[in-house]
């Protein structure tokens, strides 16, 4: 077991290199050049540039810029340079505004992580009881109704729901139950008492959290349900019943405990999504999160930022997968990872 874990950890490194290299290639091979974007970005706003009599000057300036950004070297070299910096935890500077990539990510990370943590917590909070109820009452018509509703929830496109929420619940012509944008009220002041800050913040992230959560808890409750149902048929349950234990104890103590295990392993799978922001929700609710950062960076061909995000996200994913697999192996003795037996 330990050897397996160690092997996996060592193998993570080439995988990580592979991922980042692929991302690197995609970004660089894509048409569109950040230097050109910078120089001629005025075109987007319809601003005429200066005359090109000094075309040579402009070309020189572009080349100097490319040199400065290291874009004139062959791709593998560029990758090596980037990776070298990465190993020292230096993500480089953004092409757009020269700020350190890590700073840009760092200032948005708390928002995204908070949003995701709250969302995950709520998801589990709702999904587990829902799943339990669903499995216990399986086959009855209220449960059937519940299942259908859950599936319908799961099938609602998030951008639709988000837009509808924005229009109908966030002010404008209908209800102003929640704020339409941002994380803080207009007159926010860091000197507010903590409780008031918390209330303000929660009020602002409520709807984004709802949008992120409804599909997740729908899916998770189904997993819970099937997990419970599977375990309900195991022999030890029959034994427990035969022993005369009350049904409630059987369910809550025995079945539930075993059913929760895959739920927990799934948590490890959720690790990478912690820092993944949803571009759609962030755009609709104007949340300054990682999703928006990534999206803008792709559009602006801001390679360092894109690669930085890729690197962090893939690192977390790899760790998450490893944890999930390890936990699973510990729990389920049926699975062996060695070679096929002869």
């Amino acid at each position: 077991m330990l050897r397996y874990a160690l092997r996996r950890v060592l193998l993570m490194i080439p995988t990580f290199v592979g991922i980042t290299f692929i991302a690197f290639l995609i970004m660089h091979l894509a048409p569109g050049d950040p230097v050109e974007l910078y120089f001629h970005g005025g075109l987007a706003a319809g601003i005429q540039g200066a005359s090109t009599e000094r075309l040579a000057d402009i070309q020189k300036a572009k080349e100097a810029e490319r040199r400065r950004l290291g874009l004139d070297r062959p791709l593998p070299v560029q990758y090596a340079v980037w990776f070298e910096r990465l190993v020292t935890l230096d993500l480089g500077e953004s092409f757009k505004d020269n700020r350190p990539v890590w700073d840009k990510i760092r200032e948005r990370l708390p928002v995204t992580i908070t949003l995701n943590l709250v969302s995950i917590f709520l998801t589990y909070l709702i999904a587990i009881p829902l799943g339990i109820y669903s499995s216990v009452r399986a086959g009855s018509w209220p449960e059937s109704l519940l299942t259908t509703s859950v599936f319908m929830l799961y099938s609602l496109p998030s951008f639709w729901v988000g837009t509808l929420i924005l229009i109908y619940f966030c002010g404008g012509d209908y209800f102003l139950w929640f704020p339409p944008a941002g994380l803080h009220s207009l007159d926010y002041d860091p000197s507010w008492p903590l409780l008031r800050q918390l209330r303000d913040y929660s009020w602002h992230i409520a709807m984004p959290v709802v949008c992120e959560t409804y599909a997740a808890f729908a899916a998770l409750s189904r997993y819970m349900r099937s997990s419970m149902l599977e375990n309900a048929l195991q022999d030890y349950v029959r034994t427990a019943r035969a022993k005369g234990l009350p049904e409630r104890v059987v369910i809550l103590k025995h079945i539930l405990r075993n059913s929760l295990i895959p739920m927990v392993t799934m948590l490890a799978d959720l690790l990478p999504s912690l820092i993944g922001g949803s571009v759609i929700i962030e755009t609709i609710f104007s949340i300054p999160g990682i999703g928006q950062l990534g999206y803008q960076a792709v559009l602006a061909r801001d390679y360092p930022v894109v690669l930085g995000l890729f690197a962090i996200s893939s690192a977390l994913t790899l760790v998450g997968i490893l944890l999930a697999d390890l936990l699973l192996a510990v729990v389920d003795p049926r699975i062996s990872f060695g070679r096929a037996e002869q």
């Binding site: 995609i26 319908m152 990872f337 070679r339």
Partner: protein
């Protein structure tokens, strides 16, 4: 002869499935959608089924099919005409006499549902009902093709990893990790922003980034199954590895894979509509459910642009999800009484 005992697996599953009314309803829904998608050209088209001009009868829709296949060419009299404006001695138009991509400025734009346009029009006067019908074709095609790609790649790679284990599994698992670790949406965004917009590209991207779930699932199924007796028996009899994999193990693992196929279709449709909504990857003059929905985001008073396509996406995805769920319940031998 006792028929019950020798009932085939398929019949057994079907009987179990039928008991689940919700799942059966979703199956009917899927059939209806498939019907709409197949016959879209006959349901919504701005060319008539037949038209009589100068004593001669023409079948424009059929001619159109033929012309597109290269079999026939348009008779001179009919080239490029607007059938609705042409004087004729008789013509029969499909129930929705519009094509979704004709931006007709003479039609009222942003019209709410009326007798003329049953589901309203968008900003350019394009009929929404027609867009829904033809959009069904696009959504279903994308859903099925994407799911197909995901299944094929996933079964292949997952099966190999699960059956052989050892180094093969180690290497393939690294590939899985690689694919899994790449933030998919990000990747899709990047690639789609870069490639010329076309639904083929969208299908390829979605297919090639979404097979990991299937692969991992198949892999764990193969792990469980390869240790079972029937496999040992087959190997003992000298059956080759690939035959063991694909003719013995796979059929047993197939059932749950079909379940995930259904979910794949659902999520592919959702993903495509999200991309359409963001305006990525889909050509500008292609009308899809997501693209109609996108117009509604900027024009919130035009509720018909939000309700109908949103509902269509939602209903389709629900149908596929319910079907998959029903299939899963029907296939699970342990859930039978």
């Amino acid at each position: 002869m006792n028929n019950e005992r020798s009932q085939s697996y398929r019949a057994l599953v079907w009987r179990q499935f039928r008991k689940n009314r919700r799942a059966v309803a979703s199956l009917y829904g899927i059939f209806a959608l498939l019907g709409v998608a197949l016959f879209a050209d006959l349901i919504a088209n701005d060319m008539p089924y037949y038209v009589v001009m100068n004593g001669r009868t023409y079948f424009p829709i059929a001619i159109d099919y033929g012309a597109r296949l290269g079999l026939v060419s348009w008779p001179g009299a009919l080239r490029g005409v607007d059938f609705k404006k042409l004087p004729n001695e008789g013509a029969l138009f499909p129930p929705i006499p519009y094509l979704p991509r004709r931006a007709d400025l003479s039609e009222e734009s942003f019209s709410p549902p009326t007798a003329r346009h049953w589901l309203g029009t968008d900003q350019l006067g394009r009929d929404v009902a027609s867009g829904m019908v033809h959009g069904a074709r696009i959504s279903l095609t994308i859903g099925i093709v994407v799911a197909g790609i995901q299944l094929t790649v996933g079964i292949l790679l997952g099966g190999l990893a699960g059956y052989y284990g050892g180094w093969v599994d180690l290497a393939l698992s690294r590939v899985f990790e690689l694919m899994l670790a790449i933030p998919t949406f990000f990747l899709i965004l990047t690639v789609a922003a870069v490639l010329p917009p076309s639904i083929y590209n969208v299908m390829a991207i979605l297919g090639l980034t979404g097979w990991i779930g299937v692969a991992r699932f198949v892999r764990s199924e193969f792990f469980k199954l390869r240790g079972l007796d029937f496999v040992t028996a087959a190997r003992g009899l000298g059956v080759s590895s690939s035959a063991v994999m694909f003719r013995h193990i796979l059929p047993n693992a197939l059932a749950p894979v079909l379940v995930s196929a259904s979910f794949s279709v659902a999520s592919a449709i959702l993903a495509e509509s999200a991309l359409s909504f963001l305006g990525i990857g889909v050509p500008a003059d292609l009308v899809t459910w997501g693209s109609i929905l996108a117009v509604s985001e900027q024009n919130t008073f035009a509720w018909w642009l939000a309700v109908f396509p949103g509902f269509a996406i939602f209903a389709t995805v629900t149908a596929y999800n319910l079907f998959g769920d029903g299939l899963r319940d029907a296939l699970d031998p342990r859930l039978k009484v």
